[in-house]
Amino acid sequence: MHVVTVTHTGRGTPKVAKTNSVVKKVVMAVSGIVMLLYLVAHVVGNLKVFAGRDSFNSYSEWIRTVGEPAVPHQTVLTIVRIVLVVAVVAHFWAAVSLWRQAKKARPQAYVTKKSVAQSYASRTMRWGGVIVLLFIIWHILDLTVGAVNPDGTDSTPYDRLVASFQNPFITAFYVVALILLGMHLRHGIWSVTQTLGQSNRRRERTVNAFALVFSTLLIGGFLLVPFSVLFGLVD
């Protein structure tokens, strides 16, 4: 009788992460979940804009002062930022690594190739992801730092927001990027359940329906603010 030997090389060996494509997928899924949870908190904060300038600005201030005086200024914010940067880097690393693996796996393209099952969302995961990343960098420079904002760095968060979205070109860029992000999430949520081994034939439909509804609501929430500014509901 043939006996297979199991080699126990201790916990958390980096060797596995380097060679195993499924482990890369898990890194992608977990970092994706972290960023998704952040987006939910983000959209809730955004909606404070409808409570007025003071409410929005004081919320922005609260994010920086929460926990004081027990912890120093901006402690919570700094922790959130570190977690997010780690998540973005991990997500990006896994994506690039799997992208290169896929390229190497099919060096010769088909002359004719039909796609019968893939959705627009799944087709745009890679380049869409890159565009979303560029958007996030610009978005931080615009509304967090103010470096590329029409009102500049010396302004309140509310002023920066209104100044940006009163420009239809900036609003258009946000809309395009957010729709791409929505499609990214729509395929991402489904993909997470598969990668973490939580999907099955029965759940497939529910997961996909949930992914669609969730992404639509989330992106709808994000789009509410720029459109409200553009149409003068918020100024």
Partner: protein, 265 residues
């Protein structure tokens, strides 16, 4: 390059088709698409019989016939398989041998290419080397049992639900259509079908953790791409293996890694 072959009483009842076929003499040379015309093709012919007609004509003309893999021609061996107009095994969810010419119409142009994946190098024309799949199986797609008299069937009861799901996965014939259809050239559906088939049965339990880590490690070593859960594989699979098997593989793999199983190097 265009050469015309076919019956002399062309086009009376059957279909006239233009085929563009990938011709490649051997792995060392570059291939290209070459056009051929076939005439009077009966809608009752299988796709492979249509290629047989073409090859007879090519042989009569003294040309090199098109090489393609085939064996049982009953849709159960997994030997045949080509990309037909950009779809693995063509427009029907079946094997190439069970695809019939009634799926096409007179005057159609049909592109025929081999499976494209670096672990499946072209041997000649439409025939590819799929031994990468054999090596994935050798890495863990088996169970170890003492030989001798078959055991009493009732000694190991299997729940109906499990045996059904295991059998669904066991219908995989290893044709490679999943890899061919996958935008990433990933072999996940194949490996997942084997992991599901053996992992759901009591006989598969002793090696379950080692099986999944070793088979996944082997498919990475072979150079297949990673799964992005797009679903082209399941759609192209002549046996309709479901994406659920991939989720089960992932679940098993994470459990096995947590339990300390590591691939053999």
């Amino acid at each position: 390059m265009q050469s015309s072959v076919g019956n002399t009483d062309a086009g009376k009842r059957g279909m006239n088709l233009t085929l563009r076929i990938w011709r490649q003499k051997d792995p060392s040379v570059k291939g290209k698409m070459v056009s051929y015309k076939v005439t009077d093709i009966s809608p009752d012919m299988s796709f492979l019989e249509m290629l047989d007609v073409l090859n007879e004509q090519l042989i009569m003309q003294g040309d090199d016939p098109v090489a393609f893999d085939h064996d049982c021609r009953e849709g159960i061996c997994g030997m045949c398989g080509v990309m037909i107009n950009g779809e693995a095994h063509g427009p029907q969810q079946t094997t190439t041998c069970q695809l019939h010419m009634r799926s096409f119409k007179d005057g159609d142009k049909i592109d025929i290419e081999p499976w494209r994946a670096s672990p499946f190098p072209v041997i000649k024309d439409l025939a590819v080397d799929r031994r990468a799949f054999d090596r994935i199986i050798q890495a863990g797609g088996y169970i170890s049992v003492p030989t001798g008299t078959a055991p009493e069937a009732h000694a190991t009861p299997v729940p109906k639900k499990d045996s059904d799901a295991a059998f669904d996965a066991a219908t995989c014939i290893g044709c490679g259509a999943c890899v061919a259809a996958c935008p990433n050239a990933s072999s996940m559906l194949f490996t997942a079908a084997k992991v599901t088939h053996l992992g759901l049965l009591p006989q598969g339990q002793p090696e379950r953790d080692d099986r999944v880590v070793n088979m996944v490690a082997q498919q990475d070593r072979e150079g297949f791409g990673g799964c992005t859960n797009i679903g082209e594989c399941s759609h192209a699979c002549p046996k309709g293996i479901s994406m659920e098997t991939i989720s089960r593989l992932n679940h098993d793999l994470l459990g096995a890694l947590r339990a300390g199983a590591r691939p053999k190097s």
